[in-house]
Symmetry: D2
Subunit: 352 residues, 4 copies
């Protein structure tokens, strides 16, 4: 538990947007050591009225500019619809505030690049809220993959389907596949070279509610995300296949979310056996490692404070946010053209 | 149980190929009322030697022509590698035999068309062994979809993954997605207008071991098959979403393979509510209907005998076999071109 | 949502005990229409200090008598250790307060009977907090059993096991089997005639941490509860077998907690067939009914308010609470004597 | 594969009883290296007629004495109803044959003791067919428990329930709990000191179809078996809790039957902390070891041959068979007396 005495060193945070996600951010920062929620803004007075009942000491305003103008506020967390991300984050960085920005970062890559430049110029922390990166499950997968324990990564296969919630202004790719794009970026440290995607909206005039996205990597890894708002059952399952071991990650399992299989296929390139099947199978134990159980949002909140205090770069910085927006753009473009391959060209480094 | 006395009316069957699937066919026809296994041929004498131990009255030969030349043999079942299907089936039909042909029917569409024509010309039954069509689960899905109980079909989504068995001469599409192609044909009674597919072979010189296939239908239905020989766990799961109800089909469940969900999304096209979310959700009971439990191969065997005796067209006739080969060809072509859309043009009717 | 304006008709509730369960009661009554949390008492000032942070308008005190003396307080909710239940509830009823009492009601039957008499004498509502009775799952089971849809009830079989939390002063029977005792009472409307129980404490000086309880009913129904704090996995599963249908209830399933099986055994009492097996099997569809999703504690809170306002008897009244204490006493006595049968004699009616 | 040439060293086996289990024994011994099925006897000519169709070289007879009189037959496998076990096994041993006897060994302990003495006297192998002992899963549990990896064993908890098959002449204890009695004997190497059991037959005049058995051990271990022929779902699940680790064994899992949990409870006997909870929890990884996949019956068949050839004592010898019969007798006696404790007194050694 955080000490209730407010320290003068606490990072004062203003939160813009008190809709679906905003209350989680307020609760989380209220309980994060080293942070203090100073104020909340929302256009809707009815929503704002809910703040003091739960958080009597937090100020409220319908004008987000009041937060930017407040010299006591160090950081701004933005939890508003995607089409407002760019303007709000730009204004906050320009006002010399650190920024916590909901995913996806922006609508377009050009906007994401401008925010990155602005953050560098003002020497402010810019964290994009890809919460999955801070879960114990993804941390464990990262450890297993980066340590080489899985061997060469053959594929990543994800299913994220359930009934609803249909979004009005973004497709199921920006809503659900966005999680796979950030997880893939973090796990592989490699950016795809090509994307194809198919999808459909079964109701005219609405965004795509079901999509299949395939990502191709130079290393030979192939990744696939099956996302839908129209499934009768909820599934959150990822398979990762490596040359040495394979992983299943079922996010709906209360425990044992991650299972590591000592299974694999080895290719026997023996010219003598040219006419025989040259594939060998290996099957061994399965192992479900204990995972860190701290709530991901808490880990992320403490990481944000640490980045501000110690001048560090967030694990989910603007660069990662930009790469995710690139993939959303590419997958959406492919989907509009019935699965045409979209090539991704860039010289950027991927942080490992 | 079949009466053990051999009736003079029994259909005498000769089986070509005693490898992986052949023994199942011999056992099955041996127990099918109205059928009798007369002889088995295989190029490998070691395999042939296993026949008399289990089936002492069945003759064996290394020369399949002996079966075609035998006037007492009415029908030939072919369970050999795909590249031999066309030649063997052509020879059998030309010898006035009824033909049971393993799936996929042929390597190329042109070959399938030639076999269909030959069967018509010789007035012989030509059944392609798409066994799934004869399962209680697919029969129940067919009943639910064709009766309109599911409403308009929005999507069909299939996962067929497991570790191995890598095939030497066909890709994972011809091995696993072939099941979805036949099930879709039977369930929807509609042929896709376009196909895209991505896949990869992680071992140079081998067929693709992992593939994603998307099928587009004129009615708006979208279908997807995720197939792989490289997964640590075995999954055989299909989701079918309709405007009224939705189905899950888990083939690995010992009971309750089919679950019907009274869940759905309704689109409210109200111009007054243009700025609100126009989607309504419905959620109700789930229901797992009792399924017929007769082994599919037995159902199929009896159906074959019935088609021969009563001059009927098999549920999985050459036309269905051809349409499946078309989809394999189209998906393979798309896969070779990184997911390029392949359009399917034809004027053929789909049997409903 | 409840109207935030406090109505003069609201039931004012004082809560004694702010340990594990107390905060849930405060939150729940704070959100229950027609109720208002007036004050909280706890012996521990540190716990009390947590109240105003979340509920600034709620008064706090370390002396529970302050709540009893307050004429504005209508009802007292008691969430303290079991050994204090009797004294606190007696004082509250004597002070003319309605009482909400944590389960198990009291340590001994004689105490429960005294509380029932006191509530009658003061014409106050006495509700024992057996929350499971207010879940959608138990409500559905009750409906299915009482309507006769399951036929004659053959058995009830429950497993409630997981790792920890070891209780200091009550055994696993009072902690976990208590749920089955209340559910059985509600579902069957019949009180057992005999109880046997075996159990063990693996750590000397601690209460039993694992127990098996069997209940025998005059109607022939048999019930069994397997409860443990020492299992590596969490299981909350109940089977109910009837002559017409059978139910499984898995409380850990996020959806489809209740499944109804059209399966059964019919006994053919045909003297002609005396030497044959006289049992027939029936197997049909499975059906998972949609369940009410309102949180059980909310349903229970509104029921408490309704009972006070409209002078009704709670579904989980003192009589039910007493019968549960009787079973805890009987099972504990049997367990101390290595499973000796304890007979239950009483003339009381069971509410149906 | 076994060499098909019949060696003169092969053990010739005669099988008495060709009902439910007999055909499995014939198939199994037909494929066991070193064994040869010489003849089968059954009272029912219709059943006997099925033998030559699958096994043309095996002789058949309706008179089991023909098998005992045949000097070429070395061993007799008995797969007949329980009430015939004693007479048939006594006759076979008296005729100097090795004996493979279906479980449960006999109806009464005195009979089992007589068979043990007879086998010793004639220096013949007497194996009781407790097949579970030869599974990869039980072998792995044995290894984990006997190596001390689980620590002190706190409990064994088993559920074996499903719909049917109601037995005519034995109760569900002799049909299903018998498996737990043999597994417990093998795993623990300790015989219970007391047994209590409750059960019921819902159909007058039939054996108990549902029972709960609790076994008490001197070491403090407690074991429980919940067995039923009247459950809507099939469950085969065992939990074993140790002071260091715990195991779940789900026999219906196609893979990962055994899971080992690094979870536990430690008791802190600190007089200073007399008023605090003195129990500590530990939770770590889960691990599913790879299991041997050879069919248990094959392992058991080869073991029988090995015992005969090399004069070894079977893992499931008459002593183990006797101890299992003792537990069936004790549990049945307790069940007839509504759960009264039955004490087991004996001085026999348990093989470890």
């Amino acid at each position: 538990m955080k000490d209730n005495a407010v320290s003068s060193c606490d990072i004062n945070i203003g939160i813009i947007g008190y809709g679906y996600w905003g209350p989680n951010l307020v609760r989380n920062f209220a309980e994060t050591p080293g942070a203090r929620v100073a104020a909340v803004s929302d256009l809707d007075p009815a929503r704002l009225a809910m703040v003091p009942r739960r958080f009597p000491t937090v100020r409220t305003t319908t004008d987000f500019r009041a937060l930017l103008d407040d010299p006591d506020i160090d950081a701004i967390a933005i939890a508003t619809p995607v089409h407002t991300h760019f303007e709000l984050a730009r204004a906050a960085l320009s006002a010399d505030k650190h920024v916590w920005l909901e995913k996806p970062m922006t609508e377009r890559c050009s906007q994401a690049r401008e925010l990155i430049a602005l953050a560098q110029q003002h020497r402010r922390v810019l964290l994009v809220d890809h919460t999955f990166i801070y879960t114990g499950a993804v941390a464990k997968m990262h450890e297993l993959i980066r340590s080489g324990e899985l061997g060469r990564i053959y594929y990543y296969d994800s299913i994220r389907v359930n009934l609803g919630l249909f979004q009005r202004d973004v497709s199921v790719i920006a809503d659900l596949a966005v999680h796979d794009f950030s997880i893939l970026d973090y796990l592989l440290g490699e950016h795809p070279v090509a994307v194809t995607s198919s999808g459909t909206n079964h109701f005219p005039g609405t965004p795509e509610n079901l999509a299949y996205v395939t990502l191709f990597y130079e290393s030979g890894t192939i990744a696939h995300a099956n996302v839908s708002w129209l499934a009768p059952v909820k599934v959150r399952q990822i398979l990762v296949g490596g040359s040495k071991k394979m992983i299943t990650y079922d996010d709906l399992e209360p425990s044992e979310k991650i299972k590591v299989y000592d299974k694999g296929v080895s290719f026997v390139d023996d010219p003598e056996k040219i006419h025989e099947m040259r594939v060998g199978y290996r099957t061994g134990d399965m192992w479900a490692p204990k995972l860190a159980v701290t709530e991901a949002l808490r880990v992320e909140g403490e990481h944000f404070v640490d980045c501000i205090v110690n001048h560090r770069t967030p694990r989910t910085d603007g660069q990662l946010g930009l790469r995710v927006v690139e993939l959303i753009e590419a997958a959406s473009a492919s989907m509009r053209h019935k699965g045409e391959t979209v090539y991704i060209t860039h010289e950027r480094e991927i942080a490992s």
